[in-house]
């Protein structure tokens, strides 16, 4: 059976490529060739009630299980005098808190936000690295799709699916607003976006400072722009992570398709670092959004 490794990102594009290679390879054997493509979306594996379980969701579940096991193991061996795992976790946490301090400005605030921010970091990191393990993306089943035998892997990096990254980004942005409302109060927080205060104080302060009639409507308008900014936050967070991880998987597959041995190894290390950096970037951006929204805007 002939196998074609096509690493195109688009379905349409992929079809034309696989057909082109089909002509050359299957003309000799006469067999239907196997389409091995990297799709932009996660493929469904099975149905679980109303939920269509995709391969990336499956990987995410594995990641959650790993975190659950490590979490329980950590809790079980937690001592006042640290050993092994606790030492490593404490050391890593200390470094993270130092980075967080630079953003929040106080250790107390860093410790308060650390569980939330670190949850993003850990989940994304495990998901990113799971996608790099040999077997993820290369062990799967062959199904008939549009008249082609299509290879569908059982597992796919959890963050190589926009559903995952979009869910995480939405949680981050929504939670940052909740934190904001809790920290500065609903009325103050609302005025960050729909600046009723700025409009309302025009008649009061007009005599003292006439320029207020120009400045405060601008302030109100800036508030409206902030709303668009919130949507942009979700988009940038989710697409940055998805794009980096998906591109990494495509890159590795391409390298493996060109020369199967030795050559992909440096790229593997590169992707390990990319996975770490993307998780870190996501977490730090979440921290920045949360700490911006929890501080009252100063004028």
């Amino acid at each position: 059976m002939a196998e074609t490794h096509s690493t195109s990102t688009g379905i349409e594009n992929n079809k034309s490529q696989s057909e082109a290679s089909h002509d050359t390879s299957s003309s000799a054997t006469g067999h239907e060739e196997l389409v091995h493509e990297h799709t932009l979306f996660a493929e469904p594996i099975f149905e679980l009630g109303p939920l269509t379980v995709t391969n990336s969701l499956l990987t995410s579940w594995i990641a959650v299980c790993i975190i659950l096991v490590i979490g329980l193991a950590f809790r079980a061996q937690l001592r006042a005098v640290p050993k092994k795992l606790q030492n490593i976790v404490e050391m890593v946490m200390e470094k993270f808190l130092e980075i967080f301090d630079a953003v929040t400005g106080s250790r107390k605030q860093s410790i308060k936000l650390a569980p939330f921010v670190m949850s993003f970091f850990v989940l994304i990191l495990i998901n990113n690295w799971l996608g790099l393990i040999p077997g993820v993306g290369s062990i799967g089943q062959v199904v008939m799709h549009d008249g082609h035998k299509t290879f569908i892997p059982f597992l796919r990096g959890g963050t190589a699916d926009l559903n995952t990254t979009l869910a995480l980004a939405s949680i981050a942005v929504v939670a940052s607003h909740i934190f904001g409302v809790v920290a500065v109060g609903a009325w103050t927080y609302l005025n960050k976006f729909i600046n009723i205060k700025a409009i309302a104080e025009i008649p009061k302060k007009f005599l003292k400072d006439p320029t207020i009639i120009i400045v405060n409507p601008i302030k109100a308008f800036v508030g409206l722009i902030e709303i668009i900014g919130e949507v942009a936050k979700v988009a940038s967070l989710s697409f940055r992570l998805f794009g980096n991880i998906f591109a990494g998987e495509v890159l590795l597959a391409s390298m493996a398709a060109i020369i199967a041995f030795a050559v992909p190894i440096p790229f593997m290390f590169l992707e390990i670092i990319v996975g770490l950096i993307q998780a870190l970037i996501f977490a730090i951006l979440v921290l920045i959004y949360v700490s911006i929204s929890t501080t009252a805007e100063e004028h």
Binding site: F41, L57, L78, E90, P115, L166, A167
Partner: protein, 165 residues
């Protein structure tokens, strides 16, 4: 928007499933890792702080005790010197006293002996005198062959004795 959903196969149920995943991860990390970890590290910091403070206190106390010890030794040495001085002085006094007493006793003894000798001497003299008088009397009687009367006798005797002295 529709093309976005179809290209990336966005699915509300999948989004919710991933959010649930995150919620599980958050709860696990919060309750099993961060909450206990921060408590343990916080407690440890407090313990270390306390220990350091106590160590400092102990050191200060030790320093104080050492100083006190030194002071006590110095005081004891001074006291010992005073006592020694006193003892020396008393010994000296006692010695002088004893010497004086001994001298006195010796003086007494000598005086007593002197007196005794004196007494013995006068006794002996008296006896000698009596003896001599007796002898003279006898000799006189023998020479005179007769006895004079008592008064004359006595008179002559005492005259003789007076001359002999």
């Amino acid at each position: 928007m529709d093309s976005l959903i179809s290209t990336f196969h966005l699915d509300g149920k999948l989004l919710i499933a991933q959010m649930v995943n995150f919620a599980i991860v958050f709860l696990v990390l919060y309750f099993f890792v961060f909450k206990p970890l921060f408590k343990v590290t916080g407690d440890r910091s407090l313990t270390i702080e306390k220990s350091l403070k106590e160590a400092k206190e102990i050191e200060a106390r030790l320093e104080k005790t050492k100083a006190e010890q030194k002071e006590m030794i110095k005081q004891a040495k001074m006291d010992a010197a005073v006592v020694l001085e006193e003892a020396n002085r008393q010994a000296e006094e006692r010695k002088l006293e004893l010497v004086a007493k001994a001298k006195e006793e010796i003086g007494d003894l000598i005086n007593r002996e002197k007196a005794k000798i004196q007494a013995d001497k006068s006794e002996a003299l008296r006896e000698i005198r009596a003896e001599v008088a007796e002898m003279i009397k006898l000799s006189w009687e023998k020479i005179m062959h007769e006895k004079m009367d008592k008064t004359t006798d006595e008179k002559i005797l005492s005259k003789v004795i007076k001359q002999m002295e």
